[in-house]
């Protein structure tokens, strides 16, 4: 299943990529594959922008804007007047 703006903010700088394959390993939606020791974004539309790849890229080759894909958290932040502060606060 795909959602609005899936993978929109994901940027991979192949020049920095060292081919370690961590991004492919940590991605739960098979967004990456490694071809000739370089990562490629193979399935951008499946990306939920969780940031696991960015977090685990030792070369700093990945940029992606992350956050909770949760309407309840976003509405909660709006009510607090804190547009950027949406976080999981189920309680």
């Amino acid at each position: 299943m795909q959602y609005l703006l899936s993978g929109d903010s994901l940027v991979l700088d192949q020049a920095l990529c060292n081919g370690c394959g961590r991004c492919e390993e940590v991605c739960p939606h098979a967004v990456y594959s490694v071809v000739n020791r370089k990562a490629v974004v193979a399935n951008r539309g499946n990306c939920m922008q969780c940031g696991a790849c960015r977090m685990n890229c030792p070369a700093g080759a990945i940029a992606v804007s992350t956050g909770v894909g949760c309407a309840a958290a976003i509405i909660g932040a709006m009510r607090r007047g804190d547009g950027g502060g949406a976080s999981c606060d189920c309680a």
Binding site: D8, H29, A71, A72, I75, D89
Partner: protein, 345 residues
């Protein structure tokens, strides 16, 4: 944001009754999930004490682990620990439980509490380098949003190996020499995964639902001067909307039209509410008002389910809220006006 107090101080972590302190570096964790654990799981899924359902963090023994045994890392939400330990029956492993304030691996990793700093701290606090001879940590793959493997390596000397997404695959992962197959790395999000959170959605609208049903009862008494079977007929479309938004939308998620959850909820709601109104007909104005309010409820509940899925993202959800919330509010307000007016014409 995080209202939960730190587990080391004022909080009262839920103790596992079957942990016995023994001689040796870590308490023993049973792999037997008892009926009261199952009951506890049901309780928290209905929203009772969910944020207090936790296990004391630290290193545990499962079976009879030695210096060669693998080290698995998990969160201290008790439901998570139960899901992991029941899969470890017959195995001998070390289980390193991080203090995630009683939150599951995926959500805690997003917050950063299941993260590099906490993992490094727990590895050091447990003197793990003295407990095992190897230098591998098996971290659940969904913890990767909070853990930077290369930084853990640099700080502790331990290599992070990302294990499977699901606890149910741990045994196969270990048997395969700590190799995860592509299927173990994927989030499937099948119908059981989607439905298991339905109670949370229904509990989330319980209070407004009671208010609406009470208001309907008052309107009926005003109109007919007595309480009659008509109240039940008036309830039906709203109960249908809650069912559509809270149960049908998650269940039929892949097949409902649009990527926008509010539309998915509205479509499921429209079908169910129409069925209820046809089965138990009333006046035209009342029906129109009821339909607007009830479909708005189903649409809102559908939108709330974005947070329970495994594929939505922040920017998309923000866009959905901005576009869908105003029409939902307008529809609900207009519907309420019509429904109240119908009681007096």
């Amino acid at each position: 944001m995080d209202k939960v107090s730190c587990g080391c101080g004022g909080g009262s972590p839920v103790q596992l009754t079957h942990i016995e302190m023994q001689a040796g570096p870590a308490p023993v964790l049973s792999t037997v999930v008892m009926w009261r654990d199952v009951l506890g799981g049901w309780r928290v899924r209905w929203g009772m004490g969910r944020m207090r359902y936790r296990v004391a963090p630290g290193l545990y023994r499962v079976g009879e682990p030695d210096k060669q045994s693998p080290v698995l890392v998990t969160a201290n939400y008790k439901l998570t620990v139960d899901a992991v330990r029941r899969e470890l029956a017959g195995l001998s492993v070390w289980l390193l439980v991080l203090d995630t304030k009683g939150v599951n691996v995926w959500c805690a990793a997003g917050k950063g509490t299941f993260g590099t700093a906490e993992l490094v701290r727990r590895v050091e606090a447990a003197n793990l380098a003295g407990v095992v001879e190897h230098r591998n940590l098996i971290v659940p793959q969904l913890g990767a949003t909070g853990v930077a493997a290369h930084e853990v390596k640099r700080s502790t000397g331990f290599t992070v190996r990302y294990g499977p997404v699901r606890a149910g695959d741990i045994r196969a992962y270990l048997a395969g020499g700590m190799k995860a197959t592509p299927a173990m790395r994927r989030i499937a999000f099948g119908w059981k995964d989607r439905l298991i959170l339905a109670p949370v959605e229904v509990v989330g609208v319980l209070k407004p639902a009671i208010v609406i049903l009470a208001a309907l009862t008052v309107l009926d008494v005003l109109r007919y001067r007595s309480l009659s079977w008509r109240v039940a007929a008036d309830f039906a479309p709203f109960l249908a909307a809650m069912f559509a938004g809270g149960v049908l939308t998650p269940l039929l998620l892949p097949w409902l039209p649009s990527r926008v959850f509010a539309i998915k909820g509205a479509v499921a709601g429209a079908v169910c509410v129409a069925a209820a109104l046809i089965a138990l007909p009333g006046g035209a104005i009342a029906a129109a008002g009821t339909a607007l309010v009830a479909i708005a409820i189903a649409s809102y509940m559908g939108m709330m389910f974005t947070g329970s899925t495994t594929f939505t993202n922040f920017a998309g959800a923000r866009l959905e809220v901005r576009r869908a919330l105003p029409p939902i509010v307008v529809a609900a307000a207009l519907g309420a006006v019509l429904r109240v007016a119908a009681a007096f014409v």
